[in-house]
Amino acid sequence: MTNTMEKKSEIIMKVRDVVCHFAGPRTSFFGERMIAHAVNGVSFDLYAGETLGLVGESGCGKSTLGQLILNLIEPTAGSVSYLGQDITTIDTKEWRRLRSEMQLVFQNPLGALNPRLTIGSQIREPLDIHHVGDEDKRDDKVLEMIAAVSLPPHLLDRYPHQLSGGQQQRVVIARALISGPKLVVCDESVSALDVSVQAQVVNLLVDLQKKLGLTYLFITHDLSIVRHISSRIAVMYLGRIVELADSEALLENPMHPYTKALISAVPVPDPRARASRTTITGEPPNPFNPPSGCAFHARCPQADSKCQSLIPVFLQIDEKHAVACHYA
């Protein structure tokens, strides 16, 4: 399992036709509730040891999908299975055991840490909750973990506000990894950090993955980071995955017009790249009132009447590439 390059290995997470609807405000005082179609039929596999990047704009449902995978919210329909076991219908006792094997790292580290507990006790907490090992051996494990995220041990007695943003995020990572998870969902984990610190944390995540054989679902809006860290990338638009492919294949040869637009919109740190930009007009549609047919048709330069009426099927084009577009 330590060999992360060994892709297409074991399927750790199998997501099938997951749908998640949220009830919104009422249309009028006596009216019905509006329904937000946050996730609208998503299927994919997550292989052990890989990093799957999940990208999309705000409101496309990427964070909801991340939480569905960890069973933090219940899907409206569909199934999520972890190592062959459906976790949406699992009983509480079994789930409690499995839960230590999956962890979540959020965007804002200061919001994720308890301001009144020392760093040391927060990193130790998962071990206490899951009753891992001997009580006295747990402190050794904490020391081991803080060294693994390259923080000096004297920080263990400090409080979160005394640490810099980069250090706080390292603490959150240490806390997530101490219970020995197999799967880590990183939800915009490095987005709030400054560039120079962001690079350090990204490198740390890559190193830890190699060392511990972790599987990452890396949720972000930033395509540059996703290219760097992921082996495969899934692009979401309004609750659906529109393209899923190996990183290089997706970025060098994007097939969905939305993926093309997204890649082209990322500002590249090279002033000579200015001329090559093609911007798309319009804004993402409202999830309370999704358009008919392909959700992207109103902004798509290639759309025709077929796109307005028919939802494109998510098709495997070749071994490495799947896309949901009538004209890909």
Binding site: G165, V266, P269, T279
Partner: protein, 339 residues
């Protein structure tokens, strides 16, 4: 494309007339219960009409405080202890408060990062945009409304007549930022300061807003100061760039020179640590450590701790600016030169 043409005309323009805005030796101190911290330290900046100055740096480098100090918008704890801000050859720091109020929003306007927070939730968008016209220009209600509708149209808000009467919560993030820009340019300012105008927006919307800003800049012949932490945005939109670190400007250069040949080790480190969408790198070259907080600012080079090029000369004395050719300068004892 048109950008490169602009670039050429800007250079000519600059040589001919004095800059629209010139900041000299601006220093700002924040008084806190723990003591006074100098968060902006002798900053010099220049920007001419029709030109975009990109001000780039990490959080806490002093880029926003510099611009707030220029407009005298610092909160009670912040004070300018040194320097002058020459706008059309007039020192803004010496103007009366009334004159300054006349100038702000009229000749100099500002666009902030989060449009949702900057807009008034209980007033219509139309009311808020025409407010600055009422305050700064002696025009009738009808004329103000007509002008506001023109502005909404100019910044690309569809159906201006309907949108005029809507409230901020009915606008999406991108549309709110367009409304903020409409408000800022309603009086045709000479200088527009945009503080992280696209940071809260999605990339496809960011591209639209950057395009709009550069379009407006040339249409109205404004000067634009673009504050951002994103070197991608700088490469996209700036003509001149000033890189800030720990309260000081460390390097200033035309955008092409800066990206082709960064001379300050910090600029180089930043560029190397960026993950890029247009190419695959095996490992990011992170800069070790993190930027010092204001209470740890030293007199000598503040990047020394994280720098691979430093020696004894970097400690103790502030590195002076070295002029490189006519257009760029760098504050480093050992600037990087590529042969």
């Amino acid at each position: 494309m048109s950008n490169t043409q602009n670039h050429g005309t800007n250079a000519d323009h600059m040589a001919a007339s004095p800059p629209l805005l010139e900041v000299r030796g601006l220093s700002v101190v924040f008084d806190t219960p723990e003591g006074s911290h100098q968060v902006v330290d002798h900053v010099d900046l220049k920007v001419s009409s029709g030109q975009t100055l990109g001000l780039v740096g990490e959080s806490g480098s002093g880029k926003s405080v510099t611009c707030l100090a220029m407009l005298r918008l610092l909160a009670a704890r912040g004070r300018v202890i040194n320097g002058e801000v020459l706008f059309q050859e007039q020192d803004l720091l010496k103007l009366s408060e009334d004159d300054m109020t006349q100038l702000r929003g009229c000749k100099i306007a500002m666009v902030f990062q989060d449009p949702m927070v900057s807009l008034n939730p209980v007033r219509t968008i139309g009311w808020q945009i025409s407010e600055s016209l009422h305050l700064h220009q002696n025009i009738s209600r009808e004329a103000a409304k007509r002008r506001t509708l023109e502005m909404l149209d100019l910044v690309g808000i569809p159906e201006p007549k309907t949108r005029y009467n809507e409230y901020p919560h009915q606008f999406s993030g991108g549309m709110s930022q367009r409304a903020m820009i409409a408000m800022a340019i309603a009086c045709e300012p000479k200088l527009l300061i945009a503080d992280e105008p696209t940071t809260a927006l999605d990339v496809t919307i960011q591209a639209q807003i950057l395009e709009l800003l550069s379009q407006l800049k040339s249409d109205l012949d404004m000067a634009l100061i673009l504050i951002t932490h994103d070197l991608g945005v700088i490469a996209e939109a700036a003509d001149e760039v000033a890189v800030m670190y720990a309260g000081r400007v460390v390097e200033e250069a035309p955008v092409f020179d800066l990206f082709d040949n960064p001379m300050h080790p910090y600029t180089l480190g930043l560029l190397n640590s960026l993950p890029r969408v247009d190419r695959k790198v095996d490992r990011l070259n992170a800069i070790e450590g993190s930027a010092p907080p204001p209470h740890e600012f030293v007199e000598g080079c503040r990047f020394e701790q994280r720098c691979g090029h430093c020696d004894d000369s970097c400690t103790g004395t502030r590195p002076d600016f070295k002029n490189i050719g006519t257009s760029r300068r760098v504050a480093c004892m050992h600037p990087i030169t590529t042969s």
